[in-house]
């Protein structure tokens, strides 16, 4: 509880709702303005809406006692759904749990692919949009800022984002181990299989300078080349190009070995044993396994790439475990700090009350004080100020603690006891 208010998070994600429902609830930029307005009018004092392809979540500061129901109701009605129709799909968190959930989401611990980097940018964007719509204030602003810094800490202090977890990125990682960087490298795609396209797309995004495509049917290669912005080459020149490129991605439906040890021997010799990275994604395999034994030829098949991806995912899960502990601690600390914010009005009230009492007392003694020199009056002023400060020091510290613990009742008692004068 934070100053009579409560933080809640309500939403659904890829685990709890099918894509059709997620699509229906998605809040694009065109719907955000109305959504912030409606939430602000009905349930929420401060709001952040996180809408991505995998999740729609509302983080809201609502009046104490209202809980998450108001936001759930909003999500259903605002999207033309019956009340209760979302109950099976929706989850809600409150207080420190809501903070913890937000930290987990931003740190990519709740993502479909744990450790993916996009979510942090999406959370940042959601915060920026909420700020743009003036939907965040004294609680949500520090919370979101803390969220971004916790997510960054998780990424720097753990290796949650390292290692490849998909076949495409596994291909890139293996090629990088060979070449250091893919910048300026040339790649030949042999065949037009779907997996091959995936790997080539990954290679292109990682800096491969030129992509050549060959297929038994030249027109097919030509069409694909147009799709990738690549160059189509004739099938009968396959060996010539293999002697030249750095990377070969083989993905045809041929039922036999297209590249055999004997055909590749002359190619690696012509390359002067310059490394050739071959990814064979075909089943049955199109590159004879013993080509890998040739000097300068490095052949990896679909199982190898899956192995790399699996190891990458396992490593990420170990790191995720470390990150979870980090996030739990941070969430607790952050929630306490948010509570301390709620004590701020009480502290201000007590301080103002004390100051007015001090001034009143000084005025009552004005006759005596007028006989003093300016210097002496300044000493008295400083002394009384210091006395009040000392007297209040413990009380104000305790108020901060009570705010951190969310003890609203005790805070009210403190305010009544010391801040009464000003309130009257």
């Amino acid at each position: 509880m934070v100053g009579g208010l409560e933080l809640v998070s309500v939403g659904l994600n890829h685990r709890t709702a099918p894509v059709g429902l997620r699509e229906r609830l998605a809040y694009g930029p065109d719907r955000l303005s109305d959504a912030f307005g409606e939430l602000g009018r009905t349930v929420s004092r401060e709001t952040v809406i996180l809408s991505t392809c995998n999740r729609v979540e509302v983080y809201a500061v609502v009046p104490e006692g209202l809980g998450a129901d108001g936001v759930s109701r909003f999500l259903a009605l605002n999207n033309g759904l019956r009340l209760g129709s979302l109950d099976r799909h929706i989850y809600a968190h409150q207080g420190a749990d809501a903070v913890g959930h937000l930290f987990r989401v931003a740190s990519s611990l709740d993502s479909q692919v744990v450790g993916e980097p996009q979510i942090l940018g999406q959370v940042k964007q959601a915060f920026a949009l909420a700020r743009e719509h003036r939907a965040v204030g004294r609680l949500m602003q520090p919370l979101m800022r803390r969220t971004l810094s916790v997510a960054k800490r998780v990424r720097t202090e753990t290796r949650i984002g390292s290692g490849s977890v998909s076949v495409g990125s596994a291909g890139v990682d293996l090629a990088t181990q060979l070449f250091g960087s893919l910048k300026g490298r040339r790649c030949l795609m042999i065949g037009a299989g779907e997996m091959g396209r995936l790997v080539c797309r990954s290679m292109l995004t990682h800096g491969v300078a030129e992509l050549l495509i060959t297929n038994r049917t030249y027109d097919r290669a030509s069409d694909l080349a147009a799709e990738f912005g690549a160059t189509a080459v004739h099938w009968d020149q396959l060996e010539r190009y293999l002697a030249d490129v750095d990377i070969g991605v083989v993905c045809t439906s041929a039922p036999h070995h297209l590249l055999t040890r004997s055909s590749m021997r002359s190619i690696v010799r012509a390359r002067r044993y310059r490394p050739l990275f071959l990814v064979d994604l075909s089943v049955p395999r199109n590159v004879a396994p013993d080509v890998h034994e040739l000097e300068g030829a490095y052949v990896f098949n679909v199982d190898d790439l899956s192995d790399v991806a699996r190891q990458g995912m396992e490593a990420r899960m170990v790191e995720a475990h470390r990150a979870e502990a980090m996030v739990r601690d941070e969430a607790l600390r952050c929630y306490q700090a948010l509570g301390a914010i709620s004590a701020a009005p009480v502290i201000a009230s007590i301080t103002r009350s004390a100051e007015s009492a001090r001034k009143a007392e000084l005025e009552r003694s004005q006759a005596v004080l007028e006989e003093l020199t300016d210097e002496q009056r300044a000493v008295v002023d400083a002394m009384t100020r210091s006395m009040f400060k000392r007297f209040l020091h413990n009380g104000l510290g305790r108020a901060r603690e009570l705010g951190g613990q969310g003890d609203e009742q005790a805070l009210r008692l403190l305010q009544e006891a010391f801040g009464k004068e000003e309130d009257e």
Partner: protein, 259 residues
């Protein structure tokens, strides 16, 4: 000793692959402190001997170690992968360690060695050797990484230096070593002539000439023929191993570079 501790600390962190940023920074600090201490030590020896710090076998090996350490510093600054500098600094640590184990001999009279060509000769020869030592460390790593890739062992994927990078560093070290060795040999000839010659070609001279021939082939094959990969790495490993074994034997028998 401070230099050795610095080198060992750096090599340990870099090769074991500690992922902590703080440890990484500490390893860098250790490397630079180690290098400074190493050069300071050599400077002290040079001041005491009033000559280049190559007047005894131990000092010469320590000098070679300092150049290898310098190579580690260069790889740390120029290469993205930190394991690479780790293996080179490990080589520097081994060289420095060996120099500390060698017996401290009485230095010869400086005047006996003082000719115009001497500094160029010794610097050329020892820079060449140090460069080949770096190439040896890099090539050893190349063979390990290659073996892992061939065995499809993906455990350290992305942490080890790339094969292509290792091959390029090997080439750089071999070419630099070959050039400086060539300068060393040429100026050695001039030095011998300036001293009046007459002593003939000693075993170390023969070893140096064989070494020069070996690396000349390596440079020819790699730079001119563009052959690369395992063969280039093996050239460096075999070349430096042969140098160490033959020099050790000769130094043990002759108790000095030129008898």
């Amino acid at each position: 000793m401070a230099a050795l501790v610095g080198y060992i600390g750096t090599a340990g962190v870099r090769i074991i692959g500690a992922r902590s940023v703080t440890l990484g920074r500490l390893a860098d600090v250790c490397l630079w402190i180690g290098l400074l201490a190493h050069f300071a030590g050599l400077g002290h020896i040079a001041m005491e001997a009033r000559a280049l710090p190559v007047h005894t076998t131990a000092a010469s090996v320590a000098f070679v170690g300092s150049v290898v350490g310098l190579g580690a510093g260069v790889t740390r600054l120029a290469a993205r992968n930190t394991v690479l500098s780790g293996v080179v600094v490990a080589m520097a640590a081994v060289t420095l360690g060996v120099s500390m184990l060698l017996p401290q001999q009485t230095p010869p009279e400086p005047t006996a060695l003082a000719t115009f060509w001497l500094p160029f000769h010794v610097l050329g020869i020892f820079f060449g050797m140090a460069s080949f030592a770096c190439a040896f460390a890099v090539s050893g790593t190349f063979l390990v990484v290659r073996k892992r890739l061939k065995a499809k062992d993906f455990a350290a994927l992305g942490r080890l230096p790339s094969l292509d990078g290792l091959d390029k560093w090997n080439t750089r070290f071999v070419v630099i070593g070959f050039l400086t060795l060539t300068i060393g040999i040429a100026t050695g000839g001039a030095w011998a002539a300036a001293r009046g010659g007459g002593s003939g070609l000693g075993p170390t001279v023969w070893i140096t000439l064989v070494l020069w021939g070996w690396y000349a082939i390596a440079v020819l094959v790699r730079v001119v023929g563009q052959w690369r990969g395992r063969m280039a790495a093996l050239f460096s490993v075999v070349g430096f191993s042969g140098l160490v074994v033959s020099l050790s034997l000769v130094l043990l028998l002759l108790q000095g570079w030129h008898g």
